[in-house]
Symmetry: C2
Subunit: 444 residues, 2 copies
């Protein structure tokens, strides 16, 4: 996309000053607010950014220059020496760099990239501005009702806007799709004594040229003070639970892994490194399984469960830091399969101590086949379930979380062979069930 993206990052943000002297650089779950906004815009397809800086601009500009050099993005900084005035002034300062239509964002408003993706599909007229609004005015607990800008929408048009209007049915999310008309709107609003962006929208609204874009139920948060920052962190962490999580993942692994992730996002550890750490923990667990005796078996079982928990963190960090890559998902899956195989090999070896008969190995073989094929069929099964039940539904899922938990239980109970038998039987039955199910729905 060659649509440019203007980001306003000039204000002081006094209410967050305890967290740092440059508001756009204050981290939320390990990522500075401005980087979060830029990465979200990037994942919606934008690559050219103009950032208006102001208060304490030097460290922000240094950070943005570094960010620009580490990716395919272009970032141009514009310094607004009147940063202590209203935000309409900041937009005007960038005017010489903006031709045609552009996206306008606030450095302190984080949002779900899908909002921008859909907003970019809207057509904006040469004399128009489109403001993304949240119509959920009664249920939204993430908004500070005293501080948010309210909007009155009538049949898709904005007919009123301001922090103090009495009659409203939407909130201003700070996400705009602008034509050049916005500049003229600001100038007229200034002449009328109001240099806010809301003033410009009001000017355009009076001409019927300010449209509202409904974000439906997508997430956005204005990070204005410490309470909002904590609400934002909590909200983002809560989005990490997945519908494809099995029962053990949901009730044991996910609560622990999200707590771990909350700490790990503050470190420079990348998702791929976390995947590798989880793999190493699984190898160590397998080594303990190879050693004789209950204590080693128990340690191995606990480490296997730990590996399974840590294995949730890579994807969580990738999602929180907007670092999802196709390779990352694949790399994690490949390491998981090797980890599964080594754990089951270790368990089989341990079982063979107490029952040195060759059929024990055959059971191990069947367990490993079942485990592999369970992962092999998972994507297709999840896809079918999503199509049948809708994207939000939970469904029966017997997967890796359950498998590793059975290994843990087998180790704790000192019954490794029983655990292997259960895995071999349950996993292979589940695979046959999935193939039959998919055959009935998709084959012929």
């Amino acid at each position: 996309l060659n649509t440019k993206c203007l980001i306003i990052a000039a204000g002081r943000g006094r209410r967050l000053s305890e967290r740092g002297d440059s508001k756009p650089l204050i981290p939320l779950l390990g990522l500075p607010l401005i980087q979060r906004v830029i990465l979200a815009a990037e994942s919606a397809g934008l690559s050219e950014f103009i950032v208006v800086t102001g208060y304490n601009h030097k460290p922000l500009e240094a950070f943005l220059n570094q960010l620009a050099s580490s990716g395919a993005r272009r970032i141009t900084c514009v310094y607004n020496d009147e940063w202590d005035k209203e935000n309409g002034i900041s937009v005007l300062k960038a005017r010489p760099l903006l031709h045609g239509n552009f996206i306008l964002l606030m450095a302190d408003h984080i949002f779900d990239p899908s909002i921008l993706l859909h907003l970019l599909e809207e057509k904006v007229g040469d004399d128009e501005v489109i403001l993304a609004v949240d119509r959920n005015v009664s249920g939204n607990q993430l908004v500070d009702p005293n501080d948010v800008t309210k909007v009155l929408v009538d049949d898709g048009r904005i007919v009123g806007i301001g922090k103090t209007i009495e009659d409203f049915n939407a909130y201003d999310t700070g996400i705009f799709r602008c034509s050049q008309a916005i500049f003229e709107g600001i100038e007229q609003s200034i002449r009328e004594g109001d240099s806010t962006l809301s003033g410009a929208v009001r000017v355009l609204a009076e001409r019927g040229k300010a449209r509202a874009f409904n974000i439906e139920n997508a997430l956005w948060i204005d990070i204005d003070d410490d309470a909002a920052l904590r609400r934002g962190e909590k909200q983002l962490l809560s989005t990490l639970y997945k519908n494809s999580d099995g029962p053990v993942a949901r009730f044991l692994n996910r609560p622990v892994s999200t707590a771990l992730t909350r700490q790990l996002v503050r470190t420079p550890l990348t998702p791929n490194i976390i995947s590798f750490i989880s793999f190493v923990i699984a190898i160590v667990a397998a080594v303990f399984f190879f050693l004789p005796g209950y204590t080693n078996l128990l340690i191995g079982g606990l480490l296997a469960q730990l590996a399974s928990i840590v294995d949730g963190c890579d994807g969580e960090i990738a999602r929180l830091k907007l670092q999802i890559t196709e390779f990352g998902g694949w790399f994690d899956a490949v390491l998981d399969r090797y980890a599964d195989a080594l754990l089951l090999l270790g368990m089989t070896y341990h079982s063979y101590y107490s029952r040195p008969e060759s059929w024990v190995w055959a059971v191990g073989f069947l367990a490993i086949i079942g485990a592999f094929m369970n992962s092999y069929t998972a994507d297709k099964y999840d896809g079918l379930m999503r199509r049948r039940l809708g994207p939000g539904a939970s469904y029966f899922r017997l997967g890796r979380d359950v498998r590793i938990f059975i290994i843990l239980l087998g180790a704790v109970a000192n019954l490794p062979l029983v655990a292997l038998i259960i895995i071999a039987v349950v996993m292979n039955f589940e695979n046959v069930r999935r193939v039959r199910l998919l055959y009935n729905y998709e084959g012929n």
Copy 2:
């Protein structure tokens, strides 16, 4: 797509009458010509067909009614009682059913669906016709130079067309994108004494309104006589070799499987049933491995190789009969993984007869891990190679074909344990190589 597709199937096709009394119903590799044309058009996105019938139209119409009821397609038949006249008349008979632009195909011209896919991207003016042409006039061995319609193209415009013109640089492929202007062109051509479709193109060409669309090197064949039918079959079979085929697949499995496929396409066996038959052969092979003695080992090895060969036929039949489904590919892959696992389990069990030591089982375990992960990483590896080397290139590929062949060699040489060790070492090394390669290209 709501573009309609007109197919001319009225002529007698006397030169193919030994094969059947309805030319459109003569099978080419198990599929009647008309069905091949309809399925190819469907895979390019068309779903509404109008077929002009003529000579011996009853059986053809019965077949088309049945075909329509077995899919989401709509087929309307129009009977041309003047079927013994030139083909322009047939087009005119369908006029009342065609409004706006449409695609025009010949029932006896088979073609690569990609031609239609690209032709549908072209815009056709209200007074225009676009004819897909083959510019490869010197190298095309599939064309009968005495019978093909020649075209002279100048700067994308058709300036001459006919079977006997001396000066030409393209062949008429019988694939058209028409506006309503074609009907008026036919009428004028008839007034000038020529009721062929070529006549209509010439009329439009004189006004500068007949455009040529270059099919590049895509495949098309006019099935006019027995020789053309045999050429067509040979040509389609030759497209079954894949760039992702490993060395054993290329030089052993594929020659045998295509010969088998050539027979199997004439049967009602579906690709999914062939996948299942290959799976059953592999299970029988594994059972022989479980039995003691060299003879059983040898039989098992030969059956395993047979299963690997038959496993090529499912995809080949699906491609030849235009029956490729996402489910079919997945179902085949799942059965292959179970087959691999059972074969390696059998081989391990057999090895344990001669060396009843537990490390033999560990070798089998590592072989099975290597085999599974080899398949798990194959798609991603193939994708990377295609992107790096282009779609036509061959590259180093150590996959299932090689693995099964090592099993065969191990069985023939009565060295099952050695085969297992080689599979365990080679496959796992190959997997590590692939992960490292992909990490270097895609991770960070």
